[in-house]
């Protein structure tokens, strides 16, 4: 293996044994800089425990989780190197958003003005002087992201950041994280919102029952589950179309909505076959493999409450 860069996250043989539960079980993976990495797994898969071990909040039973080769506690200036959002509702209810951020600035030796800068970045300036108990869940998430950005870190770690965000908020967060990765930062996002991950992530790390299931670029991972692309065709002349497609050697499955799902032939070939057979087409669409399907297939039987 190559020597890890300082902004690369390296997890090696990480294990956490609670009294009766092995929450994380010999887990190894790497997270590269300049990309958004989705950290996926069913509830109770050990995602949060892994992130907490990475951040020095939970002590591993065995193995290491490091930034480059350094543990979080050994980083000389952690706030300027790593930003993390672990819980949305983690501020004192009676404190204002601005003071929550200033409190971190003071402990980390950052100027108070950084608080106002990140509030502007996350669009919370109008609510800066409101107490935390008056914040909506979406505003709490934004405040958490603001706190993570205070030190302008090279590495960002977010645990379920899309929880409680409205569609506009989710889109905002997606754009923000993508732009941060485009600046060369390392972005690790845990989530169970698979559709959102498909839009956001470049790489995925899939875990279940504390173990690594699959790691790699989203497109590769989509390629192996059930991910052979299927083509959906709709035609008023279903029978003639089925006959024409049979000559291509494709498998045709009727869908409940009256369209046909075709496996084993590409859209262009299907269109051509329909054209030569004189069949009228109303729809012809290639459907990408779906992360949700792949995820369910990969984690089948390994998920659930342990």
């Amino acid at each position: 293996m190559s020597r890890p860069g300082t902004d690369e996250i390296v997890v090696e043989h990480l294990t956490k044994q609670y009294k009766r539960l092995r929450a994380v079980d010999d887990l190894s993976f790497r997270v590269r800089s300049g990309r958004v990495t989705g950290f996926l797994g069913p509830n109770g898969a050990g995602k949060t425990t892994t992130l907490r071990m990475l951040l020095g909040l939970v002590t591993p039973t065995a193995g290491t989780a490091t930034f480059g080769s350094r543990k979080y506690v050994d980083l000389p200036d952690p706030v300027r190197e790593v930003g993390a959002v672990l819980e949305a509702s983690s501020a004192n209810r009676g404190r204002t958003g601005r003071n929550h951020l200033r409190m971190i600035c003071r402990a980390a030796g950052l100027p108070d003005s950084r608080a106002d800068e990140v509030l502007a970045t996350v669009g919370l300036t109008p609510a800066a002087n409101r107490k935390f108990k008056g914040y909506s869940l979406g505003m709490k998430q934004r405040l958490g992201i603001a706190a993570a950005l205070l030190g302008d870190p090279r590495v960002l770690i977010l645990d379920e950041p899309a929880n409680g965000l409205d569609p506009e908020g989710i889109r905002w967060m997606r754009d923000l994280l993508k732009s941060l990765a485009a600046e060369g930062r390392t972005v690790l996002v845990s989530s169970h919102l698979l559709g959102e991950m498909q839009l956001l992530a470049d790489d995925v790390v899939i875990v279940a029952a504390g173990k690594l299931i699959r790691q790699g670029p989203v497109h590769d991972v989509l390629g192996d589950g059930s991910g052979h692309a299927q083509v959906r065709v709709r035609s008023p002349q279903t029978e003639q179309l089925t006959a024409a497609l049979a000559t291509l050697g494709a498998t045709v499955t009727p869908a409940p909505d009256g369209s046909l799902l075709v496996h084993g032939a590409e859209a262009a070939a299907i269109g051509h076959a329909a054209f030569t057979a004189g069949v009228e087409l109303h729809e012809l669409a290639t459907e990408q493999g779906d992360l949700e399907q792949v995820f369910l297939q990969l984690t089948a039987g390994k998920a659930g409450i342990r």
């Binding site: 909040l57 980083l75 004192n92 402990a107």
Partner: protein, 272 residues
């Protein structure tokens, strides 16, 4: 120092400090008035044992009246300091801010040390406030009792100094207790009840043990933090009690033990 500053900022930016202030002010005023009333009306009655009579005699000596008055507000001031110190720790868990705090400062012993520092500063501020007001008000009260101000007496200044030490030690004890009892409600209730009812209950228990088991047990009463604190600041040595410095040693012992234990536990514990 920036961590202590951050801890004080945390206290300053919620409503806790002024709520505690509002509670403290009337309690402080009441204790000054109560002390005044006590010395204005008390005299030695015939129906007491020799030891009790000696103790009351001693307490009524002008120097002891003065030290007691110049440290007015200690009882409730320390109660507030104790609760605030514990809450400095427990609120981190109550509001789930421990994660943010330990992400900002992964060296946990530094965080706990900063909390000790902040609690001691708060204790010193409250001590300073009560002491300054006492130095203004008490000479008037002593005049009313036909006693001199006695501000030239070293014993008075020693009592004021020991009062400061009591505030500081209880602040340390409070932070340690907050780490040990992480639940905010449990910590405040247990500390408040132990502090307020503790002394009375303990003296009853020790009186019974002394009467029915053995005389020497009474000497162990100083091991109870509230009794140790009282002994430490009781001004001049009263008959029948261990010397003042024993109380100081016991209280310092408690502060050191809870402080070290609290730091050790915080370092080891998983934050989840």
């Amino acid at each position: 120092m920036s961590l202590v500053n951050a801890e004080l900022f945390k206290v300053r930016t919620t409503s806790l400090w002024w709520i505690m202030g509002i509670i403290l002010l009337p309690l402080y005023a009441a204790s000054v008035l109560a002390n005044w009333a006590q010395y204005a009306n008390s005299e030695v009655t015939g129906d007491t044992t020799d030891l009790q009579a000696q103790q009351i005699q001693a307490a009524l000596q002008p120097i002891n009246v003065a030290t007691s008055l110049y440290t007015s507000g200690q009882y409730f001031g320390i109660l507030i300091v104790l609760l605030l110190s514990a809450i400095i720790v427990t609120s981190e868990f109550f509001h789930l801010t421990a994660t943010t705090t330990f992400l900002t400062t992964p060296h946990r012993e530094a965080v706990i040390l900063a909390k000790f520092g902040a609690a001691v500063i708060i204790a010193a501020v409250i001590w300073l406030f009560t002491t300054v007001v006492n130095l203004i008000v008490v000479p008037l009260i002593l005049g009313n009792l036909d006693l001199p101000t006695q501000l030239g007496e070293p014993a008075v200044w020693r009592a004021i100094g020991l009062n400061a030490l009591a505030f500081v030690l209880w602040a340390i004890l409070g932070v340690g207790a907050g780490v040990l009892i992480r639940s905010q409600i449990a910590a405040t209730l247990i500390l408040a009840i132990t502090y307020v009812a503790g002394t009375a209950v303990v003296s009853i228990i020790f009186a019974l043990l002394t009467n029915f088991v053995a005389e020497w047990i009474n000497n162990l009463q100083v091991l109870v933090p509230t009794s140790a604190s009282q002994l430490m600041i009781s001004g001049t040595d009263l008959p029948g009690s261990p010397p003042q410095w024993v109380g100081a040693i016991v209280l310092i012992g408690y502060a050191v033990v809870t402080g070290l234990l609290g730091t050790w536990i915080t370092k080891r514990r998983d934050i989840s």
